[in-house]
């Protein structure tokens, strides 16, 4: 394609091609500290569905090795978001080296907290806050669980901040490298943040899960135990490739919920959340 870029995020290499220069330039700037893969695991394409759409009201169709038949195109101003969505899509539909959990992950001393919840539960914000307090950020979109070893691998792509989360992250990371503001996307206002340098430098170091968290933002502070069965069911729903992996996925997930304690935490604000997480961690 006319404009191209190859990057590796954790164990996954991407080749991104685009009909336009802007999305590739933005991705190249934000991913400048990431390695280049020798061979890409996935090809991503950002293209104009009709030739004239390159220039007249340019709109970016998302494609690649794996595609959704009815994905709505985005305006060129949201080309960076289209690139991120297309990379996520490849993983969600095509990746099977690890069990994918829709979760954020932070690590300390080789042990990881895996945080999962519905969109808006605050798992991304929480991971970003913890990363500003001495935890290593391992990812805010997918946790990659190895069925053989039980280790979770990092996938520290750009942190995708939404709406109120943007200001909160800007306060926590005054020196952070942010992407352009993307107002009024289908998911609200979005701004991308480059993960901390340590997250990128150490992205090939996996960690052993030590705590499963189901955070919920916006309610009075509370913590409760989550049984293995409930955790299992919630994680099957949070996995995009659990069914595709078959028995390996079942083994990975049952191993995780049997070996790792699970807690649900409700939190009214970031400080309360961090206090709750640190208290849980100290009590493990």
């Amino acid at each position: 394609m006319r404009h191209a870029l190859s990057i590796r995020i954790g164990p996954v290499g991407f080749r991104i091609g685009s009909d336009w220069r802007a999305p590739i330039d933005q991705l190249a700037a934000l991913y400048r500290d990431y390695p280049v893969p020798d061979v890409a695991d996935f090809t991503v394409r950002l293209f104009a569905a009709r030739a004239w759409r390159r220039v007249i009201r340019p709109s970016v169709t998302i494609g690649g090795d794996y595609m959704l038949p009815d994905a709505a195109p985005l305006p060129l101003a949201h080309g960076l978001l289209a690139g991120e969505m297309a990379m996520n899509l490849q993983l969600a539909l095509g990746y099977r080296r690890h069990l994918l959990l829709h979760a954020s992950v932070v690590e300390r001393d080789g042990r990881a907290i895996v945080m999962t919840g519905e969109s808006g539960a605050g798992k991304s914000t929480l991971a970003t806050l913890l990363a500003s307090r001495g935890w290593r950020f391992m990812g805010d979109e997918f946790a990659l669980l190895d069925p053989e070893t039980g280790l979770v691998h990092a996938f520290p792509r750009l942190i995708s901040l939404k709406n109120a989360g943007i200001a909160a992250a800007a306060a926590a990371w005054p020196d952070g490298r942010f992407g352009p503001s993307l107002p009024d996307t289908p998911k609200g206002d979005i701004r991308h943040l480059v993960p901390p340098a340590a997250a990128i430098a150490r992205m090939d170091e996996p960690a052993m899960p030590a705590l499963l968290l189901f955070p919920r933002h916006g309610v009075a502070a509370d913590t409760r135990d989550v049984g293995a069965s409930e955790a299992f069911v919630r994680l099957t729903q949070a996995s995009t490739n659990y069914v595709a992996l078959g028995e390996a996925g079942f083994r990975a997930l049952t191993g995780l919920v049997r070996g790792v304690p699970a807690r649900a935490i409700d939190y009214p604000d970031g400080d309360a959340a961090i206090a709750a997480v640190e208290a849980l961690w100290a009590g493990l």
Partner: protein, 333 residues
């Protein structure tokens, strides 16, 4: 990125002569093309054990895993259909990918398998339909025109999907639309079918090749054609071509089978008899269509593709009917 890969010849070469691949191959392009053509699992089997870069080896191992999981799922779906249809006392013949893996054929190695395709006698189709609905399958597109169209003119029921397992089934009663100019001998397909040990059966080798060739050259627009042609290559490789021409002629499908044998020979170097080794004048156009894929996995050559799309409809129905069909489809969209 090195020289640009402009068509799917790279994939064809890799399938035919995997040990001839150089380490500095454009692997990313090869993998993108193989995925787009649904041949990644097949490629992974062809390259198994050969020296490739480590990243590629891991990718191909994933693809073999995926194909194995797909095989297991396909066989389970066939078993579900067998159980659902046991009450109908109807012979059930597996077709295409599920048949290849159920019979343990070379064509099934690493093959991606989508829907479950079965063939049953036309006289039993109502009973089969009722049994499937009772067992949890339901209509995918309950549109009156489409439904009526399928039932009057097609070689299969409208597609059904299982409400719990989310898998599609295509129930065929012959191998070409009723509106096509050729009329294959559907009863003979079922009479000659080869039983497997579980009560299901598969087409006899010659009919399997006839069906694969028909599907590719007498019906569709050649989308995914490299995969279907690879099936034909493997079937000929495994069964030879003895009796194939007679059987194809019996079904009125010799031109499609001859086309398949020639193109398999031209692209995959399939061992075929002398009469199918010479190029026909139009073969180049078919190769051009089959290889229309660039190193980014994009389909190329839009004019050629459109021509084959029009051809597919032309083959499928007489002109007046085609006009009416397209008019109704166009008005609705």
């Amino acid at each position: 990125m090195g020289r640009a890969v402009t068509d799917a010849r790279l994939l064809v070469t890799a399938l035919v002569d995997p040990s001839g691949l150089r380490l500095d191959t454009d692997w990313t392009a090869l993998i993108a093309i193989a995925r787009a053509e649904q041949l990644i699992g097949t490629l992974a089997h062809r390259l198994d054990g050969l020296p490739v870069p480590e990243t590629v080896a891991m990718l191909l191992a994933d693809a073999r895993d995926a194909a194995e999981q797909g095989r297991r799922t396909a066989l389970w779906e066939a078993e579900m259909a067998r159980r659902a249809l046991a009450v109908t006392d109807t012979p059930v013949v597996l077709l295409k990918g599920t048949a290849y893996v159920a019979a343990g054929l070379l064509a099934g190695r690493g093959r991606s398998i989508g829907d479950l395709d079965i063939l049953v006698p036309r006289g039993r189709i109502d009973r089969v339909e009722a049994a499937l609905i009772a067992a949890g399958w339901e209509w995918v597109k309950p549109d009156p025109y489409d439904d009526d169209y399928y039932r009057r003119w097609m070689h299969e029921l409208p597609p059904m999907i299982h409400r719990e397992r989310d898998r599609m089934i295509d129930v065929h009663h012959t191998i070409l639309p009723l509106t096509a100019r050729q009329t294959p001998d559907a009863a003979a397909l079922i009479d000659r079918a080869v039983p497997l040990n579980d009560g299901l059966s598969v087409l006899c080798p010659a009919d399997m090749i006839v069906h694969a060739a028909t599907h590719l050259f007498a019906d569709g627009d050649l989308a995914g054609g490299l995969r279907n042609l690879w099936d034909i290559h493997c079937l000929i490789d495994e069964f030879g071509t003895g009796g194939l021409a007679d059987r194809a002629a019996h079904h009125g499908l010799l031109p499609a089978v001859a086309r398949a044998a020639r193109l398999a020979h031209q692209l995959y170097r399939t061992d075929v008899p002398q009469q199918w080794r010479a190029d026909a004048p139009t073969d180049a156009l078919f190769r051009r269509r089959l290889l229309a894929r660039d190193g980014w996995g994009r389909s190329t050559r839009p004019v050629t593709r459109l021509a084959f799309y029009i051809r597919s409809h032309w083959l499928r129905m007489p002109p007046a009917m085609l006009a009416r069909h397209l008019w109704i489809k166009w008005r609705r969209n």
